[in-house]
């Protein structure tokens, strides 16, 4: 419950009421005033002073001064009259009504004030933006003007130059007319136009050019022919023709083949670590082939292929072993398998393909299937046209075919 202040003082004259309320030690900052036309409330916790005014006042033109331990209110009366007392006696309900009205009014006023403030800020922002735009436009115009001046100056020079061209062309025509026609007479004119064009007033250079035009031009060159060869087509080639996609595919296939190790076979449990590595097995197989132990080599390759079915070299080498062992059908199968794996046909796997073709061709010929053999030899020659041995062999096969048909 706030403490009602009753020791206020008031005075009046014809049109103003002065009320002075002691602040009782409360700081002026915590004084809150609500004032309407008929009601004044000053609350400074824990104190409260309210009064229902005798007559109505003009709230807008009244003022409050809070300081020095006292709050002084100067209220402008609406009607110039003398009040008998400061407050009227009204019943409680009316009091409550008036209080509520006062609060509402104050709220409204606050709302209006804030709206007005917002509108003002908006307007100021707009103004700032407009001035900034104006400044920027001015700057841009200035630059544009400089550019236009530059352009106009260049155009003027161009027109002037064109005029001079035309004048010199006319002068040349006039001179030609006055001097008459004839090759000799044209030369001083030529010289003159040349000097005009080149802007050299040097007579010695003019004389030199005259001497040159008098002399004959050198005879046409005696015919010559220069033979050229172009840079050979190695990778990277002219990008338009590069076989990059195929090369990439081949490289990817190689990478996959490396990784495709099939390790879930029961027999492998009793093998050493070495013997599970297809590369190691391939090397072992190669060594056995070199030393002549073809059957053992075949075994090694078999195991390697069981581990990894994607390496073409294994099939190709096994084909060579079978060839030595005279297992011709198996040799053909293996080299066919190798060739299957060696697609796409790129420069990188050319030598491998060459070997596979040769082995298969040999196997076919041994089986007396000379036509198929010849096909393989032709394919090999396409890969390596400069191999004399290949050429000799394929010629021999051709002869045999022609001999039998």
């Amino acid at each position: 419950m706030p403490l009602i202040v009753k020791d206020h003082t008031w005075t009046q004259n014809q049109n103003t009421v002065y009320i002075s309320v002691p602040l009782k030690g409360v700081k002026p900052a915590s004084v809150h005033v609500i004032c309407t036309d008929e009601y004044l409330k000053v609350s400074f916790p824990p104190f409260l002073f309210e009064v229902f005014l005798f007559g109505s006042i003009n709230e807008e033109r009244s003022e409050a001064r809070i300081g020095n331990g006292v709050a002084v209110f100067t209220l402008q009366k609406r009607r110039d009259e003398s009040w008998e007392q400061l407050f009227t006696n009204i019943d409680k309900d009316k009091q409550k009504q008036i209080r509520e009205q006062a609060v509402l009014k104050v709220q409204q006023k606050e709302a209006e004030k804030s709206k007005a403030k917002a509108a003002r800020i908006q307007q100021e922002k707009k103004y700032a933006l407009e001035t900034m735009m104006k400044l920027e436009n001015k700057e841009r115009d200035r630059i544009q003007k400089m550019k236009d001046e530059e352009c106009a100056r260049a155009t003027a020079e161009l027109d002037f130059w064109r005029e001079t061209q035309r004048k010199t062309a006319e002068e040349k025509e006039n001179q030609q007319k006055t001097r008459g026609t004839g090759p000799q007479d044209n030369q001083p004119v030529n010289q003159k136009t040349v000097t005009l064009m080149r802007n050299t007033g040097d007579t010695t250079s003019g004389q030199r050019s005259r001497k040159q035009t008098a002399k004959d031009l050198p005879a046409p060159r005696s015919a010559g022919c220069i033979q050229i060869s172009f840079t050979p087509r190695v990778f990277p080639t002219a990008l338009r023709e590069s076989r990059v996609p195929e090369e990439e595919e081949w490289l990817k296939k190689q990478a996959e083949a490396r990784r495709a190790v099939d390790t879930d076979l029961a027999e492998l449990d009793d093998l050493r670590e070495d013997e599970r590595n297809p590369d190691w097995l391939k090397e072992k197989g190669d060594k056995l082939f070199m030393s002549g132990n073809y059957q053992a080599a075949v075994n090694a390759y078999n195991l390697a292929i069981k581990l990894n079915r994607k390496i073409p070299a294994l099939f190709s080498n096994r084909a060579a072993c079978h060839l030595k062992l005279r297992n011709l059908h198996k040799a053909i199968e293996d080299s066919s398998q190798a060739l299957e794996l060696l697609k796409p046909a790129v420069a990188a796997n050319a030598s491998a393909r060459l070997k596979a073709h040769v082995r298969r061709g040999t196997a076919f010929c041994e089986l007396e299937l000379y036509v198929e053999g010849l096909q393989d030899y032709q394919a090999a020659l396409e890969i390596d046209p400069h191999n004399a041995a290949l050429r000799a062999d394929s010629d021999k096969i051709c002869e045999i075919i022609q001999g039998t048909t």
Partner: protein, 358 residues
């Protein structure tokens, strides 16, 4: 702000839309006119002569020919005659007198396939020696013609027997500083650049820049060869210093990547041989200046002189169109004036300012 405006500016002075595909445009020497060459949609060739008047292009003459025309040059005629040598899609070389264009002054079936590029030397009062025209064609041969000799070329640079041919995309004359000496540089679609010496009738130098060569040009045709610029697909161009040839390493070069697309054309400014402009496939033009190094030669490992390449600075660039700018020609009479044509069927006259102070 001021420093930005001290750089040369490329101003598009006039732009004209045409109703045909234009492949090449060349200034007529000593005049304010230029010729545009191309082909109509109906498959016939066209030559149009325009004159610049009051900031606009006036069509002076239109000449229609049977076959589309790919390239042309005034390089091999005298200043009085000003005959235009053109190469067309059929492989024919024709030299026209533009006043009387009904029949050519000189005509020959130069190649079996389209003539991609043509250049002339010895005319226009520039250089010494006989006027000659060189043509490079899709059939892989480069031939040099003299208009006084009918039907056969004076020099023929062709692939050897059994060699697969590669398209020749560009040719240029150079090193024509006296009556006898002359060089032809040819660029091919596999990146080969070959330099032929016509005095000795031999291949003087060759190299490969990996991507097809779209355009080669010497900085001056009529001096001891100084610099050669070669542009290629994929936005690279190389500047070779041609003064010092090393027996194995050839010529020193500096290369620059620009344009992010094919560089279709390079042209040196006739008034300053260190400034050149490149035209790109994205419709942009770059203006470059070459700076010479402190020493142009140095001693290599085996005590043989080798060249030192300098550096290239970009002065200005501008984007004019969305389609490639296929041809560019500087006016020999007015510094900074140039005409360019592009595949959006338009031709533009440009003015490049401040070239005398760069």
């Amino acid at each position: 702000m001021s420093s930005a405006l001290e750089k040369p500016q490329i101003i598009a002075h006039i732009q004209k839309s045409l109703n045909y595909t234009v492949f090449d445009s060349q200034w007529i020497p000593c005049s304010a006119k230029f010729v545009c060459m191309g082909n109509f949609a109906r498959g016939s060739g066209v030559l149009q002569i325009y004159e610049i008047q009051h900031g606009e292009l006036q069509l002076v003459r239109e000449i229609e020919k049977a076959k589309p025309i790919k390239c042309g040059t005034f390089g091999a005629t005298s200043l009085q005659q000003r005959h235009l040598a053109t190469g067309d899609f059929d492989g024919s070389l024709n030299v026209w007198n533009l006043e009387v264009p009904e029949s050519p002054v000189y005509s020959v079936k130069a190649h079996k396939e389209i003539i991609n590029s043509i250049d002339g030397v010895g005319g226009l009062g520039i250089g010494d020696g006989a006027p000659e025209i060189v043509t490079g064609s899709r059939d892989g041969t480069v031939k040099v013609w003299d208009s006084r000799q009918k039907d056969t070329p004076v020099v023929n640079m062709e692939p050897m027997e059994g060699e697969t041919k590669r398209d020749c995309w560009t040719v240029a004359f150079g090193h024509a500083f006296n009556d006898q000496d002359r060089c032809v540089c040819a660029g091919y679609d596999n990146g080969d650049i070959k330099l032929f010496d016509l005095r000795n009738m031999s291949l003087r130098w060759e190299t490969n820049i990996k991507n097809g060569v779209c355009s080669v040009e010497f900085d001056r045709k009529d001096i001891n060869m100084n610099k050669l610029v070669a542009t290629s697909l994929e936005g690279k161009f190389h500047v070779f210093d041609m003064r010092t040839q090393h027996p194995t390493k050839g010529f020193a070069s500096v290369s620059e990547k620009a344009h992010k697309s094919t560089i279709w054309q390079v042209r040196h400014l006739p008034q300053n041989r260190d400034i050149f402009m490149t035209a790109g496939g994205a419709g942009n033009l770059h203006l470059w200046k070459y700076e010479y190094p402190a020493q142009r030669t140095k001693k290599g490992a085996d005590d043989v002189d080798m060249g030192v390449a300098g550096s290239v600075n970009l002065l200005q660039n501008v984007t004019l169109s969305t389609q490639p700018i296929s041809s560019l020609d500087w006016s020999p009479d007015k510094q900074g004036l140039c005409v360019c044509s592009s595949f959006d069927q338009s031709v533009r006259v440009l003015i490049v300012t401040k070239l005398n102070t760069v």
